[in-house]
Amino acid sequence: MKDIPALARGCAVLGTGGGGDVRTGALAAVRAIEAHGEVPLVRLADLPEDALIVPLSGIGAPTVSHEMIHGEDEPRRVAEEVERIFGRPPAAIMSSEIGGANGVAPVAWAAQLGLPLLDADGMGRAFPEVQMVSMYVAGLPADLVVMSDIVGNVVTIRPVDGLWSERLARAVCVAAGSHALMADYVLTAARARGAVIEGTVTRALEIGRATEGVAEPLAALQRRLGAARLITGKLTDVERRTTGGFVRGTATIEGTGDDRGRTLRLELQNENLVAVEDGEVRAMVPDLVTVVDTETAAAIQTEGLRYGQRVAVLAWPCDPLWRTPKGLETAGPRAFGYDLDYVPVEELVKEESRG
């Protein structure tokens, strides 16, 4: 797990514009590995049936997490509470959200606890709400949330469902200064099968390594992702507004080179959610849409989008779990307020090339 910079780059790509800045998490990971040693990456198949997996994520306001950074003791307090509840210590840490900051920071948390990191996560990307995880889609009960804040408070919530889980966790987070560490859907390896998205840490690492020292990083990244390039061009307009605690907006990209004359519009809400060209949807959530720099192929966050940037927009399929009826109900276009019937990106892109 020495390859933190590659992991951070990969997590930024999987963040689809959101998930928070990977830099602080990467610094924490490097520091924790220096202090506590390497973090082994384990596959779900390698864990005994009753091994306890703790999905961890930081929740709160991005502005706050850049200022009031996590303390080193937070993971230990969560782990101790989990052990108190289950009567045995956790066996592995898992990232709840591989996209963005919450993809990298679990390396630090695992190192601080001396535990392995599970090669899996709960999203395969980034989503803004607590219930938008594979464990919820798989039907696991959202009946336990353990949170720790920076001063040492530990809060255990026994919610009746996923929506209450989101509501109560958010309230605790705000009281704690809009920044907390959270474990939810603590589960055994047996229950995790089919309920987590496997191999995503490895995938993030591979994505990050794909652009290392190559002549054409963008082409290399596109190949590694198996992504369609929706457009290559220039950002000509970014409009943002904050409603209901979320930043929404629209970004317009005008094609250059072979794409001259084309215009792609991206709908943003923390993440890049829908790509539209000439009134036709080209890709939509839960499929992944990431804006990258044309030269470095580094992912650009929605808040980093600026006029004049030379960018390519890549889109590729999400995990099949998100394409099930429950998956689409949880994180499909309608879950974000778009009146669209979900069509997989492969089909949208194919139609385009035929037309």
């Binding site: 706050v64 950074i69 630090a108 920076i150 309230a171 200064g177 980093g304």
Partner: protein, 538 residues
């Protein structure tokens, strides 16, 4: 002889140190250019002497010329404004930096990323006298994370040997109380200079902390610069008050600069943008500062530089400094032409010997521009020398062809850079300044016209001479009903800071007010950034 004050502006650039003298009605009455010396100070003195020498005849009537005449003019110089790279060079070369005790107030928060985690090892080695995270700091809403522990501060400082202390408290832009208490403690009990983060940066703990530590490390360098400047003025019998230019194109008194030396970093591009605005009379424009090796493009909004939204790296350290949004491209008068390519290498200051137009043997971008009829004002003999050199060569047609193609490549690079900075707006002019301003084409798509003002080659020194003093505040406040009152308070604070930096209280205006709503907070909150600026007090 004209009455009134004279001002000297000096700008130390990578290649040249420029100096100008402006009269009371802001006319450029003397200018000079000298090579920048490795120690910076020698080039500064040379440029100052050169501009003073040029000034001497001005306003001196023939009958009055004599040993005393020069001093009669010099005595009218009331201010000297300096923009310098001393601080930048010190950080880049890791020289003359002070050892800093790095103190963060925020434990148990923030301990997962200790101070200086992201610093290059060599810089950290030179600068850090030790680091500690002790209890203190505040939440986003202004509540204390925990009480300050003065004994923890003392225990840390008792164990380190430092030249200065840098103090960064969590959310100090919203509540600076703990930083102030520790600052007072360190001064009283340890007698060390203290750099406090709320005076320096905005939200983003690590970036603000980095800027604070760099600032503390630069106290020695700031002392050198200020004493070099004041000594140079005293030696020449100039009764002028000295000022230093900062990264946003405004000035600060030397007393202020001694506290905030890191603010001098990035003053060069800011000065050239402000100078371009002043010389052209255009307040909203794209500015291209064309030098010998590179061209810096920036944008003027209301006469001030548009600031970069991205974090700025200084010597490998990320800071949240507000710097002009600059796009630098490797294109300058000395860019070497070969095949159909231009640069990125340049003959630099050797252009005066190496370019064909100066009788040398290297094809440069200057030669390509002159071949196409683009010449600086007052250039004599350039075309003839170029024609002679090309005609004498074996393959003169090939050379002509190469120069022509190279210029097309260079124009394309410049056009693309202008387009990147223009943000889709095509109604603004392009102001071309710097020694290589003539290299740019007369028509550029994406701008309304190309303006090449008089004295363009010393725009940066002019920018220093005409600069205002400013102050800024960046904080978080509730978005509710109390908002407008709170914003008034922030405006007053920014104005007070401008006055502290040297502005005339009666002339201070709010020049920038930015409100950004914050996401994921229960209580609606906004981040407010206010900047006030005004002319220097008499």
């Amino acid at each position: 002889m004209a009455e009134g004050d004279l001002r000297v502006g000096i700008d130390v650039g990578g290649t040249n140190t420029d100096a100008v003298v402006l009269d009371a009605s802001d006319r450029v009455i003397a200018k000079a250019k000298r090579p920048t010396s490795p120690d910076v100070t020698r080039g500064l003195r040379a440029a100052l002497d050169a501009v003073l020498a040029e000034l001497t005849p001005y306003g001196t009537d023939p009958a009055g010329s004599g040993p005393g005449a020069a001093h009669a003019v010099w005595s009218r110089i009331t201010r000297v404004m300096l923009g310098t790279t001393h601080a930048t060079n010190a950080i880049l070369e890791r020289r003359n930096l002070g050892r800093v005790a790095v103190l963060r107030l925020g434990a148990p928060a923030t301990t997962s990323v200790p101070p200086l985690s992201d610093w290059p090892a060599d810089l950290r080695e030179v600068v850090s006298a030790g680091e500690a995270v002790v209890p203190g700091g505040h939440y986003v809403d202004g509540r204390e994370i925990g009480p300050l522990d003065p004994d923890a501060v003392r225990r840390f400082l008792d164990g380190v040997a430092a030249d200065a202390v840098a103090v960064t408290s969590v959310f100090s832009p919203a509540n600076d109380e703990h930083e102030r208490v520790v600052e007072e403690l360190v001064r009283r009990e340890y007698g060390l200079p203290v750099s406090v983060s709320h005076e320096l940066g905005s939200l983003g703990l690590l970036e603000r902390e980095n800027a604070t530590v760099l600032n503390a490390a630069l106290y020695t360098v700031a002392g050198h610069v200020i004493s070099a400047l004041t000594t140079a003025l005293a030696e020449r019998g100039l009764p002028a008050r000295p000022y230093l230019a900062q990264n946003d194109g405004t000035l600060m008194t030397v007393e202020h600069a001694a506290r905030l030396p890191v603010s001098t970093i990035g003053s060069g591009p800011a000065n050239s943008l402000r100078g371009a605005a002043f010389l052209s009379g255009v307040e909203d424009a794209i500015v291209a500062d064309v030098g010998g090796t590179s061209t810096d493009l920036g944008v003027l909004v209301g006469g001030f530089p548009r600031e970069s939204a991205a974090a700025v790296e200084i010597g490998g350290v990320l800071t949240n400094f507000r710097m002009p949004d600059i796009l630098a491209i490797a294109l300058g008068g000395g860019s070497v032409v070969r095949g159909h390519a231009v640069g990125p290498d340049s003959v630099g200051y050797r252009i005066a010997e190496e370019a064909l137009v100066f009788g040398g043997g290297t094809l440069t971008l200057t030669d390509a521009a002159v071949a196409a009829g683009r010449l600086p004002p007052g250039a004599s003999g350039w075309r003839e020398r170029l024609e002679a050199a090309v005609t004498a060569a074996d393959m003169s047609e090939d050379i002509r062809d190469t120069l022509q193609r190279a210029l097309a490549v260079a124009d394309e690079l410049a056009l693309d850079a202008v387009d990147r900075m223009a943000l889709g707006r095509a109604d603004r002019p392009l102001v071309a300044v710097g020694g290589g301003a003539f290299l740019l084409p007369a028509r550029i798509p994406g701008v309304s016209r190309v303006v090449r003002p008089e004295h363009a080659e010393v725009a940066n020194a002019v920018g220093a001479a005409i600069a205002l003093a400013s102050g800024r505040v960046d904080t978080i406040m509730p978005a509710g009903e109390s908002r407008s009152k709170a914003i008034e308070r922030v405006k007053e604070e920014a104005a007070a800071r401008a006055v502290a930096a040297g502005a005339d209280p009666s002339g201070v205006q709010i020049v920038d007010l930015l409100e950004v709503p914050l996401s994921y907070l229960s209580e609606p909150a906004v981040r407010v950034h206010v900047k006030a600026a005004g002319p220097l007090a008499r």
